[in-house]
């Protein structure tokens, strides 16, 4: 399989600006400056079927076409590098190994949307990737690749690198905007959408690190080529973060639509200790779980949605036959209880109740009504809040007890797991 972004993932190496240029870097932005205007660039990205790879999967070119250019206000580009969906670690690889690919992608997106200032919001825990990114931005300024009148073409762009401070909710785009404005990361009610009223009340394009990093490839090799790599309406490749009970956890760059089975068994080496597969989270912690017999699904936004789960951030978490699903759900729901911003009651209270009920079940104090109560709480958490955190929490909360009902009932009835614990999974 040809590698695009991941060809730069050389262990221990960060490509400097000169090394990146020697490898053909910053050619795409020159092509853009010389041959394209904003409209034709947006058209190209639409044709490439590039989807939003942060998790929502919204077609990138269409998102750009929503940005009003006649408001008299500046348009901002905000880069979401607040990689926080558990099971996802791909953006860290891009920023650590090839930050200039991201910078070139930012330049292309900025040109398309008439943006002259971009903010990169990187999660606060990514200390070393942050340092690599700041160094790369400085290199680009020193070489005249950022700043005023880039390459003498009359286009100017500034990039500000901004650190988050440890809050999952700031990965949600409007929570991120609040945080970038110096506030608590509490998501905003939509509409208005950030494309129209975003950062500092101005039109704002928000794209994920990986989405932007594919733009140079699309310019260099063509939208049709990119679209043809993936599946229907899901262009190109993406970086799958694979973790859990596989032999070879890591980042795998594969075409959209590739069967989940192939990711697990061909690329990630199959299940550790040659055990049997039990379950997989296909798209980050907030995706509904799939059973072992459901892995012949194509990994793109539409095929996974048809299976009532989601492609999300492409964080694939694999669980073997010795995994206790009650404890896995407890660990999952503890995360949401910790990360709820507290703004909406169904989420603030719901995630806490669910966490406490699961903790009681896992410590042997389950009651016969617990599953019914969990199901009730789940139904009022979905679709009742400002942002999607509660919806994300509801996906595992609904799917685990549905698909592993027997295990939950056993735990409640007997006060212990029906799974003989190998490597223990507990909270």
């Amino acid at each position: 399989m040809e590698k695009l972004i991941s060809k730069y993932f050389v262990p221990g190496k960060t490509f400097s600006i000169d090394e990146y240029i020697a490898d053909g870097g910053y050619q795409a932005i020159r092509t853009v400056f010389e041959k394209l205007d904003s409209a034709s660039l947006i058209e190209t990205v639409k044709k490439s079927n590039l989807r939003g790879l942060g998790g929502a999967g919204f077609p990138c070119g269409i998102k750009w076409s929503f940005v009003p250019q006649n408001t008299g206000k500046p348009v901002y580009l905000v880069v979401n590098a607040d990689e926080g969906e558990p099971g996802t670690f791909k953006d860290k690889y891009i920023i650590s190994h090839v930050p200039h690919l991201l910078i070139e992608g930012i330049m292309i997106a900025a040109f398309a949307n008439n943006v002259h200032k971009a903010f990169i919001y990187i999660r606060g825990e990514y200390t070393r990737p942050y340092q690599a990114l700041v160094k790369a931005v400085n290199e680009a300024y020193e070489k005249g690749y950022l700043g005023k009148n880039i390459f003498g073409k009359g286009f100017g762009l500034d990039i500000v690198v901004h650190r988050g401070a440890g809050a999952y909710i700031c990965g949600e785009e409007t929570g991120l905007l609040e945080s970038l404005e110096g506030k608590q990361g509490r998501p905003r009610l939509k509409p208005p959408f950030p494309a129209v009223v975003g950062l500092f009340g101005c039109p704002t394009v928000i794209n994920n690190v990986e989405t932007l990093s594919y733009l140079p490839f699309i310019i260099n090799r063509g939208a049709e080529w990119f679209a043809s790599l993936g599946s229907d309406k899901n262009g190109g490749m993406r970086l799958f973060s694979v973790s859990g009970h596989v032999k070879k956890p890591g980042v795998y760059e594969l075409p959209l639509g590739i069967p989940l089975r192939e990711i697990i068994y061909t690329y990630a080496g199959g299940i550790r200790d040659d055990r049997r597969l039990k379950a997989v989270v296909p798209g980050g912690l907030s995706a509904a779980i799939l059973k072992a017999d459901e892995i012949d699904v194509g990994m793109d936004f539409d095929q996974l949605r048809a299976k009532q789960t989601m492609a999300g951030s492409a964080g694939v978490i694999v669980m073997d036959e010795k995994t206790c699903m009650v404890r896995s759900l407890l660990v999952t729901m503890r995360f949401y209880a910790h990360e709820s911003c507290g703004q909406c009651s169904p989420c603030r209270e719901g995630t806490g109740w669910v966490h406490r009920i699961l903790e009681r079940i896992a410590s042997g104090g389950g009651k016969s009504k617990d599953l019914e109560n969990l199901s009730d709480i789940c139904s009022f958490m979905g679709g009742t809040t400002i942002c999607a955190l509660a919806d994300g929490a509801a996906m595992p909360l609904r799917s685990y007890p549905q698909k592993f009902k027997e295990e939950f009932e056993y735990f409640i009835r007997h006060g212990k797991s029906m799974i003989e614990q190998g490597e223990e999974v507990s909270a």
Binding site: G166, V242, E423, V425
Partner: protein
């Protein structure tokens, strides 16, 4: 203590200049406080509020919302062990217990002499290294075992 020393103010001014509004610089200014003083005291909150012309409450609510702003002096060596799903599947719970026994403190605590702190934290975005931890808000260490933890404690606690 004067938080805004001449040098600190110079650095802070540079941060503020990057943003459209003074307030937008708040998170980065607080990072600067962390880097310079090791934690954000109430006194520092008030000084930052004064500097950015914000009500002290606006600064306080931001400090308390985010996990990376410490409100007490940090322990000298800090182990933040991930406990979210991929790390949990790889046995992080057992490893956190091992840490607690070896350091004589519970997760969430700091030793009485301030030499070490232990926290169980949510996903750090390094599930391929599971089970993993972050030392001193900087280096990621993966593939943890009890033996590896003993080595880490020795390495960081005696240096």
């Amino acid at each position: 203590m004067n938080i805004f020393t001449e040098q600190f103010k110079k650095q802070a001014d540079e941060v503020v200049a990057r943003y459209e509004t003074k307030r937008a610089s708040l998170l980065e200014i607080l990072h600067l406080v962390m880097e310079t003083y090791g934690y954000v005291s109430v006194e520092a909150e008030e000084a930052v509020a004064d500097y950015l012309k914000l009500p002290p409450m606006d600064v306080h609510e931001v400090v308390t919302f985010y996990t990376l702003y410490y409100r007490q002096p940090k322990a000298k060596t800090r182990f933040n062990v991930c406990r979210t799903l991929s790390c949990s599947l790889a046995g992080s719970d057992r490893l956190i217990k091992h840490f607690e026994e070896k350091l004589g403190i519970k997760a969430g605590q700091k030793s009485a002499d301030g030499k070490c702190g232990l926290q169980a934290v949510e996903c750090l975005g390094a599930c391929e290294m599971a089970p993993m931890l972050q030392v001193n808000d900087d280096e990621y260490v993966g593939g943890l075992t009890k033996e590896r933890i003993d080595e880490l404690i020795k390495k960081y606690m005696t240096s």
